[in-house]
Amino acid sequence: MIENIDLSLVNWSRAQFALTAIYHWLFVPLTLGLSFILAFMESIYVRTGDEIWKKMTKFWMTLFGINFAIGVATGLILEFEFGTNWSNYSWFVGDIFGAPLAVEGILAFFMESTFVAVMFFGWNKVGKKFHLASTWLVAIGANLSALWILVANSWMENPVGMVFNADTARNEMNSFRDVVLNPVAIDKFTHTVTSGFVLASVFVTGISAWFLLRHREEILAKKSIFIAGIFGLVSSLAVAITGDRSARTIAQVQPVKFAAMEALYDGKSEAGLTVIGVLTDSDDRIGEKKVHDVKMKIMIPKLLSIMTTGEGSGYVPGLKDLVNGNPEKGILSVREMMERGRYARQVLTDYKMAKEIGDDASVASLGAKFQEQDFINNYFRYFGYSFFDHPWQVIPSVPVTFYSFRIMVALGFFFILLFVLAIFFQRRDKLERHRWFLWISLISVPLAYLASESGWIVTEMGRQPWIIQNLMPVSVAVSNISTGAVQTTFILFAVLFTALLIAEVSIMSRQIKNGPKH
């Protein structure tokens, strides 16, 4: 069956998941960050009794509510699309991957959805402190929810805490602790939620700047910029630190993705980090994949080596090393991995066939292989490579990964500057005088979304062709349904999500124009 998978089915299934994920991530980061900003504002209200803080909380809460529902809806689709469109994946790793999703539902999602109702409808029905506690619990619940889904996602990037069971022909969890404390998960959670905080802070700063440009709601706007500025600055510094950690981890566990992020084809010692560059096609190729030259580049010498190895003279492998192999550096070629993976897959097939026909002797001898460390470490670990026809197929889209990474990083540093200026001007009460800054703040709102989506594009496009790093390519994970069915649902979702996004933007714009209720 796997050999006959229609690539257009794989691509449409990927497109549908990407569509849902991109839309989902338009709404979720605002929820993650704005929920905390609401909690800060309401805390000040409860502490001081100053009605302006209540008015601010209610205004931003209205925008939160408009945004919240679509995030929830698209999240539901993502969860079920693992089953509907990636059923082979669901079985192969459901034993591990399903657990964080279930924990998310039980532990976090109920908390979020229960207290969001109190937050919206409880103003005149419950006490001030209970209401405040509910607002905090919504923020905590939303971020806990992110924790579990990111644990699940990180496991796909760096599968740990599991063992392969030949009888069930799937991977099974043997350490929940390892799954949760996966280094990729820790980096990804901290990086992702803090990026959500940054986006929400930019959103609040931008909308507040609009009020100031229109000479409206000036007290609300200035106080909002102060809260968002501090929250945003702290968060954007955290994003930079966690981003650096995350890149170092990627260099270790996903070297192909790391090389694609840098468009590094030839491995080198004392490798510099490309800050800016333009990719152009060269005459060189790796299989059918074009090799790109990086032109007009600005580099920081040795930084890539330092990030990867901890030493300025360290060797950073390029895509050619990783595909063709580099015996000097102990890097196996993909072709060799394919061969070893095919051997492992044949052993598994023989084992399953022997069980089917009741050949006990073969079952015993083949089954024993799955306990041998040599077989596990030198053959079975390359199981996923057995599904490729050509070594170059392990290379993701270099331009997409390279440019998305730079957009994300550049905007991340830009936001640090934005928040520093916001706090500076706010504390000196000079925000209105610097209308250029207010305009930049407003224009930054869509840029925050661009940065956020770019981050996910680096993550998800950069790890192609894997759905689970080194274990399962996307082509094997897909459900056995017709391409037409997926095309139809893709179009339905695209139309629906776009229609809902238009409505959301329209409602949100109107609510902002109306301003807070007096």
């Binding site: 529902a69 969860e79 469109n85 459901g94 908390m111 929940f176 409602i507």
Partner: protein, 373 residues
């Protein structure tokens, strides 16, 4: 040492509980299906929507958790059913997306499409959601056309990918029974929550009109279920065969299941009596608890004992039993510890619910409240 079989049964119990709670909470969908027929004016519609709108997230969250728990505990079911019966699940999901936004958007200015479009979304979700979930669950008893290969990869037998379930009369009976039950529970909830005499009178009339067909469909389904054949999975050989009265046997051979089923049916009947004859606001609680009990009992009948809970009508050997479809012992045990938090979750939901529902919704509240749908 907790055995793998115990953990599989434990997780089927949790799945059954979540299924029961989900069907109960579909009173939100049932209530939505009345959005065009019950209210006589915009204010009544606003009260109806706001009464339901404060609870939609519970249903949604329970659906998400139901899916997540199924994925974690019985991943082969998740892969087989969702990856095979593609169109049924996609239609259900589609109806839930449009519900989630409809509450927030319907009355907001500049919502582009107008209130009536979002109300139509609520109506579609109110009808399709419970009906299709009922049909999907009915296939636990009637079977589906799929086969699994050596590596448990699913191939669906028809290009309809689940929609073929709609031509099986038994599936339709449960689909309509669940839809009508959701409508009955929705009416009971609205009666409990809204303080409006005129709307209350409409609810009374609608309750009678929906309770009777619900009983007819439910009784017809249970008759087909208990008097028909079921998919028995031999615990020694793993062979799956069709056996007459299997589900009746599963019901009466387990005293706990029998008591749960009968007490659930009695509670639902009591709630109908309270709702239609006594006009009591408490009917929803009897109906709700009864619903949870009956649904749990039906899941017990489908999954426990020597029974395939997700049978294949075309390739009996591919049918799923709890043992075959479950996660590993380690995962189920880890998840069991997580599940111990469920009573705490139920407690805070109950507390928050009571805090918001102390006062019934009325016209004054709708005119004075900041945040209304």
């Amino acid at each position: 040492m907790i055995s793998h079989a115990f953990l599989q049964n434990y997780w089927w119990l949790i799945i059954s509980l979540l299924a029961g709670l989900l069907v109960f909470l579909m009173f939100v969908q049932g209530g939505q299906s009345f959005i065009f027929s019950l209210p006589h004016n915009d204010m009544q519609r606003k009260m109806l929507v706001n009464a339901l709108g404060r609870k939609w997230e519970f249903t949604f969250t329970t659906l998400v958790t139901f899916g997540g728990a199924f994925f974690a505990s019985f991943p082969l079911f998740y892969a087989t059913s969702f990856g095979g019966a593609y169109w049924v699940w996609m239609t259900i999901l589609f109806s839930f997306i449009i519900q989630a936004v409809a509450y927030q958007f319907r009355s907001k200015p500049s919502n582009v499409y107008g209130t009536s479009v979002f109300d139509t979304f609520l109506f579609i979700n109110g009808c399709l959601g419970p009906f299709l979930l009922g049909v999907a669950v009915a296939t636990f008893f009637t079977g589906s056309d799929f086969s699994l290969d050596l590596f448990n990869r699913v191939t669906w037998g028809t290009g309809w990918h689940g929609l073929e379930a709609l031509v099986n009369p038994v599936n339709l009976l449960l689909g309509f029974a669940v839809l009508l039950l959701a409508r009955v529970l929705g009416l009971m909830y609205l009666y409990n929550t809204i303080d409006d005499r005129d709307l209350g009178a409409s609810i009374d009339r609608a309750l009678v009109r929906n309770a009777i067909p619900f009983l007819v469909f439910f009784l017809a389904f249970t008759a087909c279920l208990f008097l028909g054949k079921g998919y028995r999975a031999d615990s020694d050989t793993g062979e799956v065969t069709l056996v007459k009265y299997l589900y009746l046997h599963n019901l009466i051979s387990n005293l706990f299941t029998l008591i749960l089923f009968l007490s659930g049916v009695v509670l639902v009947l009591v709630s109908l009596w309270l709702g239609t004859i006594r006009h009591s606001v408490k009917a929803i609680w009897y109906g709700g608890i009864g619903t949870v009990a009956v649904v749990m009992a039906l899941f017990f009948i489908a999954g426990y004992g020597e029974t395939a809970f997700y049978p294949s009508s075309s390739s009996p050997g591919s049918s799923l039993t709890l043992a075959k479809a479950s996660s590993s012992q380690f995962t189920l045990k880890t998840m069991m510890y997580v599940s111990f938090i469920i009573p705490f979750v139920v407690a805070y939901i109950w507390y928050a619910w009571r805090s918001l529902n102390r006062k019934r919704i009325n016209t004054e509240e709708m005119e004075g409240e900041d945040h209304t749908y």
